[in-house]
Structure formats: C-alpha cells, structure tokens
C-alpha cells in the first residue's frame, strides 16, 4: 500500500470524478470530493515527510515498467513540496465549496461540478508527480479542460463567464500545443520522453538550433499557461467571472503548477548550463517578470471589483516568481518555490473570503463591501491579512517571499531589479488601502443588504490566513524545503 502512494494521490480524484458525476442527492458528490481531496492531502503530507526524512528521490514505476520504457512518477524534494500545496488548498476549497456552490450553481449541475472539480485537481497533481514529458501534457489538458468547464459554470450568475471560458480555452490550448511542438523537437533529437533520460541525452545535442527552438516553444507555451505578462489576458476574466469556489481553487493553484512545470522542464531537462539559457532566457524572464509586477499592480489599483483586483495582483505575483526563475541561481529558484507556496496560501485566503461575500450579494466590489468591516469583521480581516501578505509586510508569509527574492537578486548584483521589486511591492499598498478605506472608514450605506458571517463563511478562509501568518513567523522549515527543491535543479550551497 505504502509504495503505491505516489500513484494513489492522482488516481483517487481521477477515478472519483466519474463516480461523482453519477451521484445524486444534495451532498453526495460534495462528500465524495471532500473525502478524496482529504485523502490526497493526507497522502501528499506523508510523501512530503517521507521525502524530508530520507532525502531520497522516490521513483514509482507505473505497471512495473521501469524508466525509460515505462512512465515513472517521481517524488523528489521539488514535487514533494508542491504536492501538499495543491492538495491542501484543494481540500480547504472543497470544504468552502459546499456553501459557495449551493449559492451560485444550479442544483442539477452539482454532481457534474464536482466531477470537473476532481478532474482538475487530479490533473494538477499528475503534472507535478509525473516524470514523463508527454504525460505532463496529458495531465495539463485534463486539468485545463475541466477548468474551462468549471469557469463556464459561472454563467448561471454571470454570463460573461462564457466568453471568458472560451478565450481561456483558445489560449490554453495554444499554450499546450506549443508545449507539444517543443516536445516533438526534443523527441526527434533524443528519442525519449522520460525527463531524466531527456536531460542526459540532450547534453550531446545541446548546441543545435533544434534544441534551442524546442526550449523556446516549451517555455513560451508554459509562459502562456502560467499567465506571465504579456500573455496574461485570459486570466483576469476567467478568474473574475468563474464561480467563487473555482476562482479560489484556480487562483491559488492552477498557474503555480505551470510555474512548477516550467522549472522542471527548463532546469530539470535543459539545465542551467544549456547554451543561451542563463543569458537570453534569463534576461527575458527577468524583464517580463518585473514588467508584469508593475502592470499587474497598477491594473489592480484601478479595479473596483475585488475578484478582478486580486486576479490582476496575481499577474504581479507571478511576475515575482518569474524574477526568481530569471535570477538563474539556487537562491532565485528557492525564492520562486517559497513564493509559489506562500502566494497559493494568500490567494486561497483572499478568494475564499471574497467568495463568501460574492455568494451573498452576487458580487464583491468596493461598493458592496462599503462599511462591511463592522458587519463581517472576520471575513474582512481575512481579506486585509491576505492583502498585507501580498505587499510583503513582516510576520506574513509574503515577507519571507520578498526577503529571499531580494536576496537572490542582490546575490547577482541586480541592484536596480531589487529596488524595482521593492517599489512594486510597496505600490500594492494602494489597492489594499482602497479596501481598508471602503470596508472600515466608510459607513455602510442605508438600504444596503445585510452581510452575515457564520463559521461556514470564514473558517476556510481563516485556515489559510493562519497558514499565511504561521509560515510568516515559522518560515525556516519552508525555506529549508524550498532550498532542497531548488537544489534538485541547481547545485550549490545555500
């Protein structure tokens, strides 16, 4: 049983999906989703602690076929760190989903909703675990296709979800297809699809033009999937008009998985010594990252809809992850992993709290939260803490992210970039202040609907808030794990 854990955590939600689609009755499908995401979370915690204790890479041969002939699932320091983030947030989002889905989605569609929900989670977990490059594509499409359907389910409440889902589908498919083109070139060069095998065989042909073209296609496809500026236009409408539960799950996990896959492919397969990677690609990613940090933050300041505001801020935060990757150093990658982890927690807290408001009044905007600070203090405080963590205020997880990011930049003497990172983070204060002003400094207008909060509304968000603060104060286990993850790809001391 224990040796099958790497496959089980993907298989359980994957097989649960068709079962959930068949279940009828109010909470059956939800209960199944909760059970399976909980099981996946438990398994990923076990895998993580196992990996931490032994420090070894766990390789699972599917069907007993060893690599490179068979497909393998690999639990190393990097995948072991990312798995609990995804399954943990999936679990908490599933707890919250019951109330949110009841409020926003037609009762007839609940079973199908949870089927797509489980599929998208299975796809994300699969992408992280698999050691086969084509398998990544298959899981990428499993998670994306169900995500398109989930976003479109927002149509019952907000019909703009439909064109948003369509644009997401078009751009998502273009991104995935670019990835497959790059993979095709790699396969022609090396004759293998196993990631370990690829990286070994690629060393002989790494100065060919085909290898660089493959890198370009794969990186571009994944930039599109991770919504790196300027390829981010699908993200904001998709997150803003999706059902609240879906916004929370996707904003916290979907783009992070693509960041992880990018790191796994670029550093794990091509390697830091790949000609043109450190200078050309590094410079490109750094530039796009810092540009995205500014564009996302400025766009967020102009938004009045809270979902759109924090979707725009995701563009900025993904920019910071890109800066970590673009630093092309072990510290930079560790910073990217730390921020990947922390940002997932913050965004889950924010979107779960916003969802609790949106499910009641249809839409969380500066207008509908006016004066809400006294009516629903716990929900609004969750949003406030999430916002402060996005800025990078000390005692929140966001501070640790920014600390290591700036450290990685200073290590390479990127003084200007470090200063720009600091300025763009400080700018985020503007949109957090807008929320404080609306929620606490203004009176609730007369005749405005009364907002309520009960534990079902705020407990999921607060679980994430506590994690955000917890990892802000007791950061060293996460930092150690992130460095271990970075050292899978780039050697060197801390």
């Amino acid at each position: 049983m224990m040796q099958h854990l790497p496959i089980l955590q993907v298989l359980l939600p994957l097989l649960g999906a068709p079962l959930a689609a068949l279940l009828r009755g109010r909470d059956m499908a939800w209960g199944l989703a909760l059970l399976l995401t909980g099981a996946a979370f438990l398994i990923s915690i076990i895998l993580f602690s196992q990996q931490q204790m032994t420090g070894e890479t766990l390789v699972y041969d599917l069907g007993g076929w060893p690599a490179p002939i068979g497909i393998v699932y690999v639990i190393d320091a990097a995948s072991a760190l990312v798995l609990p983030v995804i399954s943990g947030i999936a679990f908490v989002a599933t707890i919250a989903a019951r109330r949110l889905v009841e409020a926003e989605i037609d009762a007839r569609d609940h079973a199908l909703f949870y089927a797509a929900w489980l599929l998208t989670i299975a796809g994300m977990l699969g992408q992280v675990t698999t050691g086969d490059a084509f398998n990544i594509f298959v899981f990428l499409e499993i998670s994306s296709l169900s995500a398109y359907a989930l976003v479109a389910m927002g149509a019952g409440r907000d019909r703009r979800a439909l064109p948003a889902a369509f644009n997401y589908l078009i751009l998502g498919t273009v991104g995935a297809t670019f990835y497959v083109i790059g993979l095709g070139l790699l396969y022609m060069l090396t004759g293998t699809l196993n990631l370990m095998d690829l990286s070994e065989r690629l060393a002989d042909v790494q100065s060919t033009r085909a290898a660089f073209t493959a890198l370009a296609f794969i990186a571009l496809g994944l930039f599109l999937k991770m919504a790196l500026f300027p390829l981010h236009f699908w993200l904001v409408p998709a997150y803003a008009h999706a059902p609240s539960a879906v916004s929370a799950l996707m904003a916290a996990t979907a783009t992070k998985v693509s960041v992880y896959v990018l790191i796994r492919l670029v550093f794990g397969v091509f390697g830091i010594d790949f000609p043109g990677l450190a200078d050309a690609v590094g410079l490109l990613v750094l530039t796009l990252g810092i540009a995205g940090a500014f564009v996302g933050t400025l766009a967020a300041i102009l938004e009045t809809d809270l979902k759109k505001l924090f979707a725009q801020s995701s563009i900025a935060q993904l920019g910071y992850m890109a800066i970590g990757i673009g630093a092309m150093s072990a510290t930079g990658l560790a910073a990217a992993f730390i921020h990947l982890f922390n940002h997932a927690l913050m965004k889950a807290a924010l979107f779960l709290a916003i969802g609790a408001i949106a499910a009641q009044v249809g839409r969380a905007s500066m207008g509908t939260i006016q004066g809400a600070g006294r009516q629903i203090p716990l929900t609004m405080t969750a949003i406030l803490v999430g916002g402060l963590a996005l800025i990078g205020v000390p005692l929140t997880a966001g501070f640790i992210s920014k600390l290591y990011l700036v450290r990685a930049l200073l290590e390479q003497d990127f003084w200007l970039l470090a200063a720009l990172t600091f300025i763009s983070s400080a700018l985020a204060l503007a949109y957090v202040w807008k929320i404080i002003e609306a929620a606490w400094l203004k009176e609730r207008p007369k005749g405005a609907p009364v907002l309520v909060e009960t534990p079902v509304h705020y407990v999921p968000a607060w679980l994430m808030v506590i994690a955000t603060i917890g990892f802000g104060i007791f950061a060293s286990p996460l930092v150690d794990a992130a460095y271990a993850a970075a050292h899978v790809f780039i050697g060197g001391a801390r």
Binding site: F166, T173, L193, T304, S365
Partner: protein, 127 residues
C-alpha cells in the same frame, strides 16, 4: 534546394501550423477561431506522425522476420492520445460557442466586447 525537398514534410507542417495559428489570432468569429485551432493542432499531429516514418520501414506489426525494418510506432501512439485531447477540446469549445450564442445572440468577438463593456460600465456605475 535539396534540403527543401528532403524535409518537405516539415515545410508542409509549418505552413499548416501558421495558417491555423493566423486564423486563431486574426479571426473575430468564434467558430473560425475553433477551425483555426483545429488546423493548428492537426499540423502538430502531422509533425509527430511524419517523424515516426523510417525510410523503407513497414507498419510496426511483428512479421517474425528479424531483418524487417519498422516505422517508429511511439509518436503515432502519442498522437492517438493528442487526437483524443483535441476532440475533447473541440467539443468543449463548440459547446461554449453554443452557450455564448444563446446568451448574447452573437459569436463575433468585436460585438461581444461591446456588449461586455456596456455591462461592465453599468456595473461600475452601480458600485
């Protein structure tokens, strides 16, 4: 020139790829975008299928003769999977187009943008 002839399959694939990609980017009609996307994906299928070709190789079915040269079946199998994914994408895409048409009465990008902008402005003035 000899390069062009020897690699004619790649030139064909790239031509098809760009035709499809152009349609995805440049067309405002959602159905045309989907058609472009399908052409784009199909070009990638052809890239994989043609790379599995081995000169003078036969279909990869065991003949019992050790000297038989086989085509590489692996890219073909990969593309079977990719075709399934492509069909699913197309199905979801057209289903969304039908829903968009039912809801908005148009599937033209520029008209949709106008309607959505009007909705957003109305929402912003309410907020």
């Amino acid at each position: 020139m000899s390069n062009l002839i020897a690699h004619w399959n790649y030139f064909l694939v790239i031509a098809l790829m760009m035709i499809g990609f152009y349609a995805v980017i440049a067309r405002g009609n959602m159905v045309k975008k989907m058609v472009g996307l399908t052409i784009f994906q199909t070009s990638v299928f052809m890239l994989y299928i043609s790379m599995g070709k081995v000169a003078n190789g036969t279909a990869p079915i065991l003949t019992g003769d050790a000297t038989t040269l086989y085509a590489n079946p692996l890219p073909h199998v990969l593309i079977l999977t990719a075709i399934v994914v492509g069909v699913a994408t197309t199905a979801v895409g057209y289903a969304l187009i039908i829903r968009v048409y039912e809801s908005y009465g148009t599937i033209e990008d520029d008209e949709l943008i106008k309607i959505i902008e009007a909705e957003e402005n109305a929402e912003a003035s309410n907020a």
